[in-house]
Amino acid sequence: MNDMTLEKAATVEFRGLRREFGPTVALDGLDLDVRPGELVALLGPSGCGKTTALRMLAGFEHPDSGEVLVDGQDVTEVPAHRRDAGMVFQSYSLFPHLSAVDNVAFGLRMRKVRTAERRARAAELLDLVGLGDKGERFPHQLSGGQQQRVAVARALINHPKVLLLDEPLGALDLKLRRQMQLELKRIQTEVGITFVHVTHDQEEAMTMADTVAVMNGGRVEQLGSPSDLYENPRTTFVANFLGTSNLIEAEVDTRSGDGIVLKAGGGKLLLPEARCSAPTTTGGKVLVGVRPEKISLTHADAAGDIPAGRNRITGKIAATSFIGVSTQYVVDSAVCPEFEVYVQNIDRDAKLAPGAEVVLHWNPAHTFGLHADQSLLAGTTGSAGVGTVDDEAAV
């Protein structure tokens, strides 16, 4: 595959893409820059426009306004078959009448490459995806995961500038999906071209992507590396859609150094100014967030042992659930009715049972601040705009 790593990777730019289907606004001014050789994940709930954006890059959909640039060139008007973009579909899309090797060789057949040569190159690519010995099988003789690997090989054969994947693992079971995520990442590293990967599974996006673009309502809500998005969400949607967040409504009180002191319920919380994406005028409202695994839980009787300088909240355990590596607690407190806390099962404290009075405390550096004029529930499953996997399959 050495000839493939020499490919010059391409940039992809979406400029103000807009697309309406009747009353539905599928894309609402989408802007996105993808760096060459990067694996970028478009992540968002069902119906947020991920597929539409990808199909515009592939040339199957035309924007009402805006443009798509590949390697700096405007390809908006270029027909799909001249775009140099390989595509892997969510539903199984292999040609049923062709064997695996002929499926992979299909792109070369369109380029009128001689049979012997194209079969040899197809065999190389089947090796790359780990199916070197299954070339003569027909699609119905391959498992779902194998079919998707063949589809990846088929999409790569013409040395595309960019590979587009629309929920390629959506139809696979969880275990196979995990395995294929790593496999796809390995293939991407090996061929070195730009991958645009669409998914509604945040874990998949975090596992695979160099950069994640969180989409909501037809636009990119936030763009960044998985850890950056997780640690520094700038909207409640991102905070809730990527993992779980505890959000508290608070009021700006005073400043202390490079931190902001906030009033929440009866207590005070400290928030580093750099981690606040909202204006911090005194008296203004701010949403304070903290991830459940950053929080420690101490029984009220031992509250004196908590080191000074930590953010604290008191409450009462409402429920616990033991899930092996950790225990998840739901704590009712005055500032937030259902505070979630994940505690690793190292030394389990038997006193932390439902009904126990507890103190929640965490390092102030792990606190983030968000604009107060957004829904606390945006991006949680069950809130508007978030569909099921079945909806996804229907589109």
Binding site: F60, H81, A85, G86, M87, H97, F106, G107
Partner: protein, 274 residues
């Protein structure tokens, strides 16, 4: 289950036996009638006479030519249309289905009356215009194009149904898009990705059209042409034994052609796999 099983089995055989009697007895009777001349024993004279009879070969060839032309026209018309419909306007599907089914509810006699009315439009003073000459040309008795046009319409319901079933069995949009992202133009995508998977449906449509054209009588007879079915009728009128022999023969010819078509489809399938 154990108690229920024997009864359906019995029924199955009863139905089969009934169908066999219904179909096979008349057939056998016809065959016996044609080969058994009282006082002479078994003879195949009647069949010999047909093969030598005036108009047998021309009638059969004309019918086959008409069938080939009809199949070609109706498939060239319907395949791109149906694929485009599925890709571009799936909601129009039911409308097209109803339109394509109309020939089933219009009796052939009404259909042919309409056609002859249209063909009589050209008044004398138009005789030098291309319109009139076209009308004359499509009624050429050596190869009446007008029959092909009529048969295309009459075959629509069957062709639509076969193609619709074939297209339903696959994800046309994804296959076409997969082909296009591999560098296939829209036409290439149709030919290389969709058609090979539509083979069963195409074969089926061809079958039904062939059977339709070989057996069609009303339209061709009333318009004054003499393909196979009309020839059978004209021969049969004069000699009883000959007419029955002709019917038996036409059945055998139709079966042979359908088997040949099926064999052709089967062979290309294995060739494509090999």
């Amino acid at each position: 289950m154990a108690r229920l099983n024997p009864r359906p089995n019995l029924w199955r055989w009863a139905v089969l036996a009934f169908a066999a009697v219904y179909f096979l007895v008349p057939l056998a009777a016809s065959v016996i009638f044609t080969v058994d001349v009282p006082g002479q024993g078994v003879t195949f004279d009647a069949y010999g006479q047909i093969l030598g009879a005036d108009g047998f070969l021309t009638g059969l060839i004309l019918s086959l030519e008409l069938a080939a032309a009809t199949i070609a026209v109706v498939l060239l018309l319907m395949v791109p249309a149906m694929v485009a419909l599925r890709l571009g306007a799936p909601r129009l599907g039911p409308v097209i289905e109803v339109i394509c089914s109309l020939p089933l509810v219009v009796p052939p006699i009404a259909f042919v009356a309409g056609i002859s009315t249209v063909l009589k439009w050209g008044p004398e003073y138009l005789s030098r215009t291309p319109l009139f000459q076209t009308f004359v040309a499509i009624q050429n008795p050596d190869f009446p194009v007008v029959l092909v046009l009529a048969y295309v319409v009459m075959a629509l319901p069957f062709v639509h149904r076969s193609l619709d079933a074939g297209l339903r069995a696959m994800d046309v949009r994804t296959l076409v898009e997969a082909a296009r992202s591999c560098g296939a133009s829209p036409v290439q995508a149709l030919v290389t990705a969709v058609l090979p998977n539509l083979r069963g449906a195409l074969l089926n449509a061809s079958f039904l059209t062939l059977a339709l054209v070989l057996g069609e009588f009303t339209v061709s007879h009333l318009l004054g042409f003499q393909p196979f079915a009309v020839w059978i009728y004209s021969v049969g009128g004069s000699q009883a034994q000959l007419s029955v022999a002709v019917s038996v023969l036409s059945l055998l010819v139709t079966w042979a052609l359908l088997l040949a078509l099926a064999g052709l489809g089967g062979r290309t399938r294995t060739a494509a796999k090999g």
